[in-house]
Amino acid sequence: MLESGHSQKGWTSPQESLRYLFMHITHLSLTNFRNYGRLELDLPLGSILLHGENAQGKTNLLEAIYYLATSRSPQADQDSQLINWDAAEAGDSVVVGRLIAQVATQAGSRHIEIRLIQEQGLSLRDGQRSFRRQALVDRRKVRLMDLLGNLRVVMFLPQDMQIVTGSPSERRRYLDITLCQIDPIYCRTLSGYNKTVEQRNALLRQIGEGTSSQDLLPVYSDKLIELGSRIFARRSLFLGELAREAQRVHYEELTKGTESIRLRYLPRLQENGSGSRGSVGPLIALSEWLQENQMDQPAIQAKFSEALAAAQANDIARGATSVGPHRDDWRFWINGRDLSRYGSRGQQRSAILALKMAEINWMNAATGESPILLLDEVLAELDEHRREMLLSYVLKSSQALLTATDPAMFTAGFMKQSTSMTVSNGRVQPDDD
């Protein structure tokens, strides 16, 4: 399992290195993805430094790996933006963009692939080209959802700060993408829940307009309660574990015992009177109640059912379901105050770093394998202590890809333990040692 030459990279004890050596990408192949017309790239174990000028394709490479792991793009909302149109225009009208990773894991080697297929004609809705995604694991077609878990990543982006300062939907997205990589049942439950919310909302609007009767509503409410209660419980359990680890990392590793943060789940198990600016007090109480009852599905269902019933008249008037995990939030507190409003930028940065490091440790503990780390230009904005902490995680991981415009910020020691590659105009070239 150990590849020759790896021992030169400074691993201290064989026991420790073995523990982290498992999941890594051995080969990456991209066709018509962003600025890559065609890329075939062998990747070694350990840390890989991608350097080059701006807009040459460093970030796109990390994005491709993230996409293969999560089926989501870290930034773009639409898949059509992922296609390299310059390259695509030349060929047939039905062009296939393709991402393939050969992944080595404890269980053996896996071939995972996403195809981006252009449908014939333009979409009727918006006149855009419409797309279909097709996922394959070991060349067998699978549902996109079943792709998740074959490749696990933790990504660090400069815009991660939005997890603290952005809207609740940003935080839910982060939560769901992380949890879906580990728990396929959660992912399916969530997908069923989201469809149920859409159906229920459509029905609420029709009831409000008088075009549909209320006797269909209990069918969707029951389904919502059944699936939603499982999501509440799973998120409560997950955020509890993540919070403990993030609080520990923040206190012990990042601030050397000088500051403590608190991460709390705010489950929307109750209508929030005055919108998003409403008091979080009742939601914190519900979060604590949920912690104590997270194994008790009937109790959660009863509470959720009660909240839905209480909100029903309002929901019909608004044409939307106002309670349930699709309106959840979670937040950080520092010294008892809301980090997003009262924290300094440095404090917010430390909290995000603690969260991501905790995510790595959590995935390690949950799967016995280190996730692949993807760091996009994040080291430049960190002070020396935090940078060192983060690099220690990089050096412990089985594989990490880092991008940097200026490789000079890395110490000679780190460079010696890393493979460096130059990215230039959609081509990647390993540097000569």
Binding site: Q199, L216, K223
Partner: protein, 201 residues
């Protein structure tokens, strides 16, 4: 697609074909030119088949399956169990069950599943007819064989509520492993349901 270089009948057939599901303008043109070049009989046979499809078929007034006779052959068949009723979404689902040769009761075809997003409510399906048929009939059991999708399951739950007053026993199809399948490649939800529904050997 309007093209002055094409005679009107050719263009018209291309337009008609491209209205069908799964057929884009290119496929439509390919089909049209295939018919244009082929011997006269093929196109004429097709036109007769299309005409008969609409003129000689109708919905059975009892089960709402597609039929040439009224009532349909299944509803006419006295050898079939009259006390067992199976509710399906589409005629193709009925056909699948018939192919299995494991069921010999009556059917009721809903012609769809409830989906508020698509604007399909209970009144758009043959649900009132089903309720009437069950409350006036003499059934021992109703099998709700809608698809295991959100829409299918919601429809079954709604039917369960609507039919509760009749007091007739209601069942659903088992969810689980496909025969000849592989445990390793079965998704977790299906496997979980298969475990929940395990049977004594």
């Amino acid at each position: 697609m309007v093209n002055n270089a094409l005679p009107r009948p050719v263009q018209q057939l291309i337009n008609e074909f491209s209205r069908l599901p799964g057929i884009g303008s290119k496929s439509a043109a390919r089909l049209t030119f295939f018919l244009l070049r082929s011997g006269g009989q093929l196109a004429l046979d097709l036109s007769v088949a299309l005409q008969e499809l609409k003129e000689k078929t109708r919905f059975c007034s009892i089960c709402f399956n597609i039929t040439e006779e009224e009532p349909c052959l299944i509803c006419q068949d006295d050898t079939r169990d009259k006390r067992l009723l199976c509710v399906v979404e589409e005629p193709l689902d009925l056909l699948a069950l018939e192919r299995a040769r494991a069921y010999s009761g009556q059917y009721h075809v809903l012609h769809g599943a409830i989906s508020p997003i698509e604007g399909i409510g209970p009144e758009d399906l043959r649900i009132d007819e089903l309720v009437k048929r069950v409350s006036e009939g003499d059934f021992d059991e109703i099998i709700l064989a809608t698809n295991p999708t959100l829409e299918g399951e919601s429809t079954a739950l709604y039917l369960k509520r609507r039919l509760a007053d009749t007091g007739v026993r209601m069942t659903g199809l088992a969810r689980g492993l496909s025969v000849g399948g592989d445990l390793e490649y079965t998704d977790e939800i299906t496997l979980g349901r298969a475990l929940d529904g395990r049977v004594d050997l």
